[in-house]
């Protein structure tokens, strides 16, 4: 019996190959976008974990300098002598001909368990690690270190772009003799230790899992990607839901017959569920493969984004991790189950003698519209409540969810009202029929239209955010990069001489002093600037005291970037501890878009007092042509041309980083819109199969097949246009949430929102084009429907 029932069930798909394709394609696309995003997230998290495992970040308490980016080795020795169980770490970037590599020096004798790659099961003996020098790196990084005299051992557990070695070797490679970056504290410390302030007053203790944990910093970015993946998955599930609804509706007759022939209802439901499971696993498998392709294509851009925004290193290669392909299959089964549960429930409750006549499938979907309306109002009200409360990143994403789902649920009701208005205003007979018939088709198309609404709103919202960001960023670059050229990458010892040389030639020189530090408990850069008219004219504050620049120039105040202000909870007039006993009030907060770290600026003179050993690492030069400057410095100091960077090159580079940062967002946008277009095509095609009995009488009364096809095309365009109109305000609301709430929480800066009417018009036209293309095939099928097929509608023996 089971075999016979399965054959009967399979026969439906053989007779309706289009439905089979729609089901598989919808679920595969949904799974692909979801698992693609999950693959990217899994890869990134694995990189963070590798970094944490090798560097001890976030796992152990650490001692870091209160100010500056290093501490003397004597401090470490003093702490060990006092009984503190600490282990030294030296970090820095080594520039090789093949690129940059982060060098991390550890002491394998004192590192807390499992941090060091030597010892244990590893083949490298401790002696050669400590004496000759051995570096550990992944294969790609190892290739870049081939020219070093030290042996380089390939180790896949080391974070990307990082090499581990002994402290002494790292100090030699980085040219930091007798200096350490930080100290790792062993979890177990002896009793009765002298206080840290007494032994090492220049150090501060940072608790594990705080501050620099890159996993936490990037969490919002991954949440963002996951939200996009979920949105795409939802759009795909709309397709599957529509298909399953139609398939089960068309099978009502068969179900009744099978039950009449003695198949128990429970067995029937079970077999249909098994059928759904097998098909969803098949579609999920295809989706996972597609997801792998998507992830492989997008991962290099995501890696660039994460480095650009957060300085996080992520491997550019993709591995097949069980966690994501299993989750891909699971979500395919879950999605199909969600979409099919209602249909199976209806079949289970259907009386055995229920009418097998295919009823208006579409009309049945409209019954719960008041319930749907109530849910929409409730969700939109919750969204408004969250917006007013402004309660953090998770709440902001909850707001987005409520807003999008609420609007999607409200869409069929709003469209229904507009179509009813159209019907009441219609004058001609075809017009009246058109509006009435479109209303009738609405429930059958509403899932696809909801998908289109979400995809369009996401496009409007995200493109508004990105374009607003771009405008602000370009404006910001124009303000910040006001010097004609920048000199960088020169030995510190030569900088004072170069400065004097430039001043002799009448140039305005703006040296920039900088140390990496922790300010208000947050990793940050402390800068010393020669404050003057150039800064006052070009830098724009988000918030500032009226005399901010005067106070900074006098050494009486500090200004910070918006990221630092928001992360540390600082605002105007708050006091900021800058290290070395210097505490200054906050006089201004400036926009610093695209910078992943916090920043504080004080006057050059003040900086020199606190950090007398620091010399400028970079000069901004005004009043000299970059080409002249390049040749003059080459002749006088033998500087390579690459040490002089002109303003336009810096801007072009920054914009290039910016564009690449949002490539992944744009790609997901396009994919989501494509899935929505596919949803419309599939809905129209599946609807066209049950449309014939509705259109044949109109044809019989004197409308040609061509005229009916045109009406079908216009119907799709009208519905798409109405949806696009509704998507615009929704997309703008989405943009506002992204700019005013998500960005502030995730990146630490608030951006002004700009409107781009031409972009929206272009998107609207694209949507209409997508709808027209989607409707073209069903319309052509209508125009070419054989007369015999139309006449079969009227056949009494059909």
């Amino acid at each position: 019996m089971t075999r016979a029932v399965l054959q009967a069930l399979a026969a439906h798909w053989r007779r309706n190959p289009l439905q089979f394709f729609t089901f598989l394609a919808g679920l595969a696309l949904a799974t692909a976008l979801w698992s693609g995003v999950q693959a990217i997230n899994a890869e990134a998290r694995a990189s963070y974990d590798a970094a944490a495992a090798t560097l001890g970040e976030g796992r152990f308490d650490q001692l870091v300098p209160r100010a500056g980016d290093s501490l003397p080795q004597e401090t470490y020795v003093a702490l060990r002598r006092a009984g503190w169980q600490v282990s030294p770490v030296v970090e820095g970037v080594l520039r090789t001909d093949a690129g940059r590599v982060r060098i991390v020096g550890l002491d394998p004798l004192t590192t807390p368990g499992a941090l060091s790659p030597v010892g244990g099961a590893r083949d490298i003996d401790l002696n050669s690690f400590l004496t000759v020098g051995v570096l550990f790196a992944d294969a790609a990084t190892a290739g870049r270190l081939a020219d070093l005299p030290q042996e380089v051992v390939t180790d896949t557990s080391v974070a990307p772009d990082t090499a581990l070695t002994d402290v002494g070797v790292a100090q030699r490679l980085l040219d930091r003799p007798e200096r350490l970056s930080r100290l790792i504290l062993a979890p177990e410390q002896p009793m009765g230790l002298p206080p840290l302030e007494q032994v090492a007053p220049g150090l501060t203790r940072v608790a594990a899992q705080s501050g620099s944990d890159v996993g936490q910093l990037t969490g919002s970015f991954h949440l963002n990607l996951t939200a996009f993946g979920l949105l795409s998955f939802a759009v795909g599930i709309f397709i599957v839901h529509g298909t399953i609804g139609l398939v089960f509706e068309q099978r009502r007759g068969m179900v009744r017959t099978l039950r009449t022939l003695g198949v128990p209802l429970r067995r029937l439901i079970l077999l249909m569920a098994v059928e759904l499971l097998v098909l969803s696993l098949l579609a999920g498998g295809i989706g996972v493969v597609l997801g792998y392709v998507i992830a492989a294509l997008l991962l290099p851009d995501v890696a660039a984004t994460l480095e650009g925004l957060y300085g996080a290193q992520v491997s550019g290669g993709l591995q097949l991790r069980p966690v994501w392909w299993l989750s891909g299959l699971a979500i395919a089964v879950l999605g199909a189950g969600l979409a099919g549960a209602g249909a199976l429930w209806r079949i289970a409750r259907m009386p055995i003698l229920a009418s097998a006549r295919p009823r208006a499938w579409a009309m049945a979907a409209g019954r719960g519209r008041w319930l749907q309306g109530a849910a929409a109002v409730l969700l939109l009200a919750v969204a408004a409540g969250i917006a007013l409360a402004d309660a953090g990143l998770i709440a902001a994403f909850a707001l987005l969810g409520c807003l999008l789902i609420g609007a999607a649920l409200a869409l069929p009701l709003i469209l229904g009202a507009v179509l009813a208005l159209g019907q009441s205003r219609a004058k001609g007979v075809i017009g009246g029929w058109f509006w009435a018939d479109t209303r009738q088709q609405l429930p059958g198309l509403s899932l696809a239209l909801m998908a289109l609404l979400l995809a369009m709103a996401a496009n409007v919202g995200v493109s508004t955010m990105v374009s607003s960001f771009r405008l602000t960023f370009i404006d910001f670059l124009d303000q910040r990069l006001f010097a004609d050229a920048y000199i960088r990458g020169v030995d510190r010892d030569r900088m004072p001489g170069i400065e004097a040389f430039l001043q002799d030639r009448g140039a305005t020189v703006l040296p920039l002093l900088r140390v990496d530090s922790r300010l208000a408990g947050v990793p940050a850069e402390l800068m010393g600037a020669r404050v003057g008219p150039a800064y006052e004219t070009n830098w724009t504050f988000v918030a500032a005291r009226p005399e901010a620049w005067t106070q900074v120039a006098a050494g009486d105040a500090v200004i910070v970037n918006e990221q630092l202000a928001r992360r540390a909870g600082l605002w105007l007039d708050d006091m900021l501890d800058l290290g070395g006993g210097l505490r200054l009030p906050l006089a201004g907060v400036y926009g610093d878009y695209g910078n992943p770290v916090g920043q504080a600026v004080i006057a050059e003179a003040r900086f020199g007092v606190v950090f007398p050993d620091e010399t400028p690492r970079q000069f901004g030069v005004l009043g000299l042509d970059p080409e002249e400057l390049r040749s003059a410095l080459g002749e006088r100091f033998g500087l390579p041309p690459s040490s002089v960077v002109d303003q336009s090159s810096v801007k072009a580079f920054s914009l290039g980083v910016f564009e690449r940062t949002f490539t992944v967002t744009a790609a997901l946008n396009v994919l989501t819109l494509a899935v929505a277009g596919f949803a419309i095509l599939m809905s129209l095609l599946t609807l066209s199969a049950i449309r014939l009995p509705q259109l044949a009488p109109v044809w019989a009364m004197g409308l040609t097949r061509g005229a009916l096809a045109r009406v079908e095309l216009i119907r799709a365009l009208v519905l798409a246009a109405l949806t696009a109109l509704l998507a615009l305000p929704l997309g703008l609301a989405l943009a506002w949430v992204l700019l005013a709430m998500v960005n502030v929480q995730a990146f630490g800066w608030r951006l002004p929102m700009y409107l781009f009417p031409l972009d929206y018009a272009r998107l609207g036209l694209l949507t209409l084009l997508a709808a027209a293309l989607a409707a073209l095939w069903p319309a052509l099928r209508m125009a070419r429907t054989p007369v015999s097929q139309l006449l079969r509608v009227f056949a009494n023996e059909r």
Partner: protein, 218 residues
């Protein structure tokens, strides 16, 4: 002569080659006349009705409607003929589900550009549809739906009304009632009526009775 059918042949593609359905049919029908067309299932009566109504085309022969050769018309010409001169009443009613009773009845009349509100109102009353004018087809019984289909056909004031088993889906009492109303109203309009039916009782009510057997009139 409103309708003259001469030597009409028609065949459909079958698995083993063309299957003839009509093999040289001749008939004529004038305004005000009623005619029944009987025959076994597959004898070609519905096909003949479809050809006469401009819904289908012939393989051979001629169909003259008011002197015009229907077979020579292109699709747009046949659509125009169906719009203005012919109305079909189907066994399955084939109402437009998205329009209510009133709009369904007016639909073909408006297509033909001959809407007459008074006549529509009269048809609604005459067919007992007054209480249902704002209902949708799915809310009506079979008999009510067939009355709407009859009203739709008559409201357009066509010269030829074709009815394919108009009472085939109705019980005996309702069928008799609907037939009485249809014949009375067709009589009032002066249109010609061709009815395809299996029922000898229905056929007996027509002026002429024709039998189709294996694609030919018996």
């Amino acid at each position: 002569m409103l309708l003259k059918v001469s030597g009409v042949t028609k065949s459909f593609a079958g698995a083993e080659g063309p299957v003839p359905v009509l093999s040289g049919v001749d008939l004529s029908l004038d305004l005000g006349q009623t005619m029944s067309l009987q025959g076994e299932s597959g004898s070609g009566k519905s096909t003949l009705l479809h050809i006469v109504g401009g819904l289908d085309t012939v393989d051979g022969g001629r169909v003259l409607f008011d002197g015009r050769d229907v077979a020579a018309l292109d699709e747009a010409g046949r659509a125009a003929l169906r719009r203005s001169d012919v109305a079909v009443i189907f066994q399955q009613f084939n109402l437009i589900p998205s329009l209510d009773v009133s709009d369904n009845i007016r639909f073909q009349a408006r297509l033909a550009g001959r809407e007459d509100a008074a006549q529509v109102a009269r048809l609604i009353e005459a067919l007992g549809l007054g209480d249902h004018r704002h209902k949708y087809p799915e809310q009506l019984s079979g008999g009510q739906q067939q009355r709407v289909a009859i009203a739709r056909a008559l409201a357009a004031r066509p010269r030829l009304i074709l009815a394919d088993e108009p009472t085939g889906n109705l019980d005996e009492a309702t069928a008799g009632e609907v037939l009485d109303q249809m014949l009375a109203l067709v009589g009032e309009t002066g249109a010609a009526l061709m009815v395809v039916t299996h029922s000898p009782a229905v056929a007996a009510r027509m002026d002429r009775q024709l039998h189709l057997r294996a694609g030919q009139l018996a």
